[in-house]
Each structure stands twice: as structure tokens, then as C-alpha cells.
């Protein structure tokens, strides 16, 4: 059974078909990339998984569960974490607080035990902090721990967003353009981190990315989309040389 399955999913915004009869599946343990020109519907696929939209038709399954029965705030509980194309961090909070919010799905305490900061609340906070510190070490964020997001450079914010997603302890990590706007060095870091996330942490990664160097460097399989539909699916090399993909990117050579 695949970890994530899309089956004939269609989503329309008014007259525009953003996702058109799309089927694909992501296997456990792989890095799966989605590529395609602007407006192809890549981010919309992510937003469908996050349940921000109800598909017009089709099925989405995750880890054996029908995701369409889950409400948006329930998706994280199944082990899906994500980043956003236009970074969506909690601006007026510190890096540490942002990562701790990532631990929310593991909350075992309730209002009263938190207000009185009971023993169980304290124990939970210690665990949360420990987990978050591991991620801070992994992504080299030590210098920014107590900094407000609002004052951080773009490249650091991108990393913090990945860190916050990792703090949820996900099975599947969705990265929406993790390298866009990053410098060459930062992109190289990101490449190794994605590798480690898969190899060391055993997390399946589904990412949208325009940088073909990064895509062919880290991904096992690539899905190419245009106008909401599947163009090609295969290894990075297969997809890059697929005639339909070449045509979508370079225009018809007639």
C-alpha cells in the first residue's frame, strides 16, 4: 500500500481547472518531486492534502485513511507536515515558539493542567523542548533560537519552516519550493538536509521544486504537471527527457 494516493482528483476554481483528473502515489521512504510551469497546480495539490479545498471529484488516501473524511486541523494528527510557498511562520513569536507549536499534535494536557502547570504539563514541556532542540541542532538553528521571526533573513525563515514541520514528527513531509529564493550555498545545505530527513529520520518527502539540479539530486521519482494534469511520471532523467515535458517548458518545436 502506498503512503499517499491520489486517484482521479479534480479541483476547479470557478471556470479554471487547477487539478485535472490527477492520479499518482507516493511510496513510503521515497523523495517524490512535483515539477511543472507556474500555475500548473502544484501548490494546489499540497493544499488538497492539507484539506484546505474539497476536490470536485476523486479520492485522496493517506496511510490507509480516506483523507477526505478528515478536517483541515486533523491532517497533522495522521503525520502530515508541510511548508508553504510564501512562508507562513508565526511572525511575532520566536523561532523556539514556532517550533514548539509544531509539537501541538502531541498535546496530552488540557486547559486546567496547563493553567496550573501541573507535573504532567511540565513533563510534556520538557519532552517538547528536547525534541525541538534535536531539530535545532539538526538544522543548525542554534544562533536563532530566541530571535523573533519578524527580524530574520529570508533564507533562515525557510529553514525554520522546515524545522517547524519536522517538529511535528511527521511520516510525510510536504515541501513547497524549499529552495526558491535561496543562495547557491543555502540550496546545497537544503539538498543534504532533505537527504538526511529521508535517510536518518525515515520521513517520506513530497516536494515541489523548480530547481532541476536539486530535484534530480535528491528525488527518486518525479511527477511533471501542466495545467493541472499529469504530463509524465518517472525517474528524474526519464521525466527531463520526456517529449511532453520538453514541450511544456520550451514550447512546441514545429
Amino acid at each position: 500500500m502506498s503512503l499517499l494516493e491520489f486517484e482521479n482528483v479534480t479541483l476547479k476554481f470557478g471556470g479554471l481547472t487547477a487539478v485535472n483528473d490527477l492520479s499518482f502515489s507516493v511510496e513510503e521512504g521515497e523523495v517524490f518531486a512535483i515539477v511543472g510551469p507556474n500555475g500548473a497546480g502544484k501548490s494546489t495539490v499540497f493544499n488538497l492534502i492539507s484539506r484546505f479545498y474539497d476536490p470536485f471529484a476523486g479520492q485522496i488516501r493517506f496511510d490507509g485513511h480516506d483523507l477526505l473524511q478528515v478536517k483541515p486541523s486533523g491532517v497533522a494528527a495522521y503525520g502530515v507536515a508541510r511548508t508553504f510557498q510564501n512562508i507562513e511562520l508565526f511572525e511575532h513569536a520566536t523561532v523556539l515558539q514556532n517550533l514548539l507549536v509544531g509539537r501541538h499534535r502531541h498535546r496530552r494536557t488540557n486547559l486546567l493542567s496547563e493553567v496550573f502547570f501541573t507535573r504532567s504539563a511540565r513533563r510534556q514541556e520538557l519532552e517538547n523542548r528536547e525534541k525541538v532542540e534535536e531539530i535545532i541542532d539538526f538544522l543548525d538553528l542554534q544562533a536563532y533560537r530566541d530571535k523573533m521571526i519578524a527580524g530574520l533573513p529570508y533564507g533562515v525563515r525557510k529553514v525554520v519552516e522546515v524545522a517547524r514541520a519536522l517538529a511535528t514528527d511527521p511520516k510525510l513531509l510536504l515541501l513547497d519550493e524549499p529552495a526558491s529564493g535561496l543562495s547557491v550555498e543555502e540550496t546545497t545545505d537544503m539538498r543534504w538536509w532533505i537527504d538526511d530527513i529521508r535517510r536518518q529520520m525515515g520521513i517520506t518527502v513530497l516536494m515541489v521544486e523548480h530547481d532541476m539540479g536539486l530535484v534530480s539530486g535528491v528525488s527518486d521519482r518525479v511527477l511533471a504537471m501542466a495545467d493541472g494534469a499529469k504530463l509524465a511520471l518517472g525517474t528524474p532523467a526519464q521525466v527531463q527527457s520526456h517529449p511532453a515535458v520538453v514541450e511544456a517548458y520550451l514550447g512546441k518545436a514545429s
Binding site: 492539507s50 478536517k71 486541523s73 510564501n86 507562513e88 507549536v101 496547563e114 519578524a150 529570508y154
Partner: protein, 273 residues
């Protein structure tokens, strides 16, 4: 009913009232939410008059001192006892808030405030979080109201007017939205301002050889100007200003003017893409 039972109940009942109010209010944002709650507080005035059997209507209700563990707490008779009572409640509530802010629920308030989409993606139920935040702030306001009743001794439909709401709002805007420090700073300033003003008026009066300057509405005028000044020049309040000064010293000489600005803001529809 003994005070030690009645007092917690004041918070619990207002908390429940908060939940009932939160349910229709969940659909509203920003200014519309503000208008809704303002309208509700005006409506409350009439509800209190209508519910005369419980509330005493326009004539209101009277309350003498209360006894707590054998101590008589009466604003007129034993003002120092009243002070200790208010202090104890303030300390307890503040400790509760501090605890909240370092545990999941408090962080989920921050998350919902800053980005609803990513709060949701982290597993936070937006509607529930907002409802709980409404209930909590209503409960604490209920306790404050109970103390105010004890302080005033007599109260009717006009005791808790819109003017108080506006004063509370000013405290938090001037002190600094979204921080415990801010609430205290704002309360100190707004609390002392009338005293400062009357001292200032006497001094200005003495300067011209008179007794005191009497200008009707002067107090409200000055309150208003301070509020506008803060909204224009320091939306993060006194506490926000303090944070900036601290950061400036910490980072000297690398402080940038735009450090506390949001980098970009998106329209709701743009945010997801």
C-alpha cells in the same frame, strides 16, 4: 452565598457566556468583530434593565463587605484587606497566564493570531481555539467585574458602561498588545493619568495665579490623543518600544529599522499559493 463560592462562579458563568458569544462571533474578523462585541456590550445595558428580578434593574444592587477566612473585606471599612484581595487575584490570574503562554494552548493562541493556515496545518482547530480564548478572557473579566462590584458597593446597568470597555482597550493598546507586561504597563499609565492630569491642572492654574484649570472633556481629549499617538507611531505599545530599545542595544550597531515590520502581507486569497 459565601464569597469563596460566589467569586469562582462569577468567572465560570461569564466564561460560559463567552462561549455562547464566541459561536456567532467566529465568522467575524478584525473591525467587524470589534463592532459586534461593542454592540453586545451596549445591548447588555438593556438586558440588565429587562432582567430586573435578577439584576435589580435600574435601581441596581448593593453589596456590603464580605468575609474571607474570618477577615472582613470592605472597601470603606478595611481598604487594606480589599487591596490584598485584589492583589491576590491579580497574581493568581497572571501566574495562570504565564503558565498558559509556556504550554500548548497559549502557543496555539499565538499561532492562530499570526497565521490561521499554518496553525491549521500544525493540527490546531481554529474554531475551538478562538472559542477557548473568548471563554478565558470572559472568565477573567468576570472576576474583575466581581471585584469592581465589591469596590463600588452599588452597581446597576450603568456601572459597566462602554466607557470602561474603551478604557480597558486603551490600556492594552498603550501598554502593548499581546503581552502580559503590556497589560500592566498600560493599566499603570491609564490608572495614574487622571491623577497626573489634576496635579498638572493645579500647577498650570497656579502659574496663572488661579486655583485650577477647568476645561470640560480635557481628560478624554488627552486620552484620545495618547491613543491616536500610539496607534500611529508605536502600534506595539510601550512594551513593544522597550523590546526595540533592548534589541537595539543587543545588536548594536547592526539594528535595522525594519526589523519589527512584517515583511510582506498577502490578501487572504493570495496567501495559500
Amino acid at each position: 452565598m459565601p464569597f469563596l463560592v460566589a467569586f469562582p462562579l462569577a468567572g465560570i458563568l461569564t466564561g460560559i457566556a463567552g462561549v455562547t458569544v464566541a459561536i456567532p462571533a467566529l465568522r467575524l474578523h478584525g473591525i467587524y468583530l470589534a463592532i459586534f462585541t461593542l454592540a453586545l456590550s451596549i445591548l447588555m445595558d438593556d438586558l440588565i434593565v429587562l432582567a430586573e428580578p435578577i439584576t435589580g434593574g435600574v435601581a441596581g444592587k448593593y453589596m456590603g463587605g464580605v468575609e474571607i477566612f474570618g477577615h472582613l473585606v470592605d472597601r470603606w471599612g478595611t481598604p487594606e484587606q480589599f487591596f490584598w484581595l485584589v492583589l491576590a487575584v491579580t497574581v493568581l490570574v497572571t501566574l495562570g497566564y504565564i503558565n498558559l503562554l509556556r504550554t500548548p494552548l497559549g502557543r496555539s493562541f499565538i499561532a492562530v493570531r499570526d497565521s490561521e493556515v499554518s496553525a491549521q496545518a500544525m493540527g490546531i482547530d481554529i474554531a475551538r481555539t478562538k472559542t477557548v480564548s473568548f471563554a478565558l478572557s470572559c472568565a477573567v473579566t468576570g472576576w474583575a467585574g466581581a471585584l469592581m462590584g465589591l469596590y463600588a458597593g452599588a452597581f446597576n446597568n450603568e456601572s459597566f458602561s462602554v466607557v470602561i470597555s474603551i478604557q480597558l482597550l486603551m490600556m492594552i493598546v498603550i501598554g502593548g498588545l499581546g503581552s502580559i507586561h503590556g497589560a500592566f504597563l498600560g493599566a499603570i499609565i491609564i490608572g495614574f493619568l487622571p491623577q497626573f492630569l489634576s496635579i498638572a491642572k493645579e500647577n498650570v492654574g497656579a502659574l496663572f495665579g488661579g486655583s485650577t484649570v477647568a476645561i470640560p472633556g480635557l481628560e478624554f481629549g488627552i486620552f484620545g490623543m495618547i491613543l491616536i499617538g500610539f496607534i500611529l507611531f508605536e502600534p506595539m505599545g510601550i512594551y513593544g518600544r522597550w523590546l526595540k530599545i533592548r534589541t537595539w542595544f543587543e545588536l548594536f550597531p547592526f539594528y535595522r529599522k525594519d526589523m519589527f515590520k512584517r515583511q510582506k502581507s498577502y490578501l487572504k486569497t493570495e496567501r495559500l499559493r
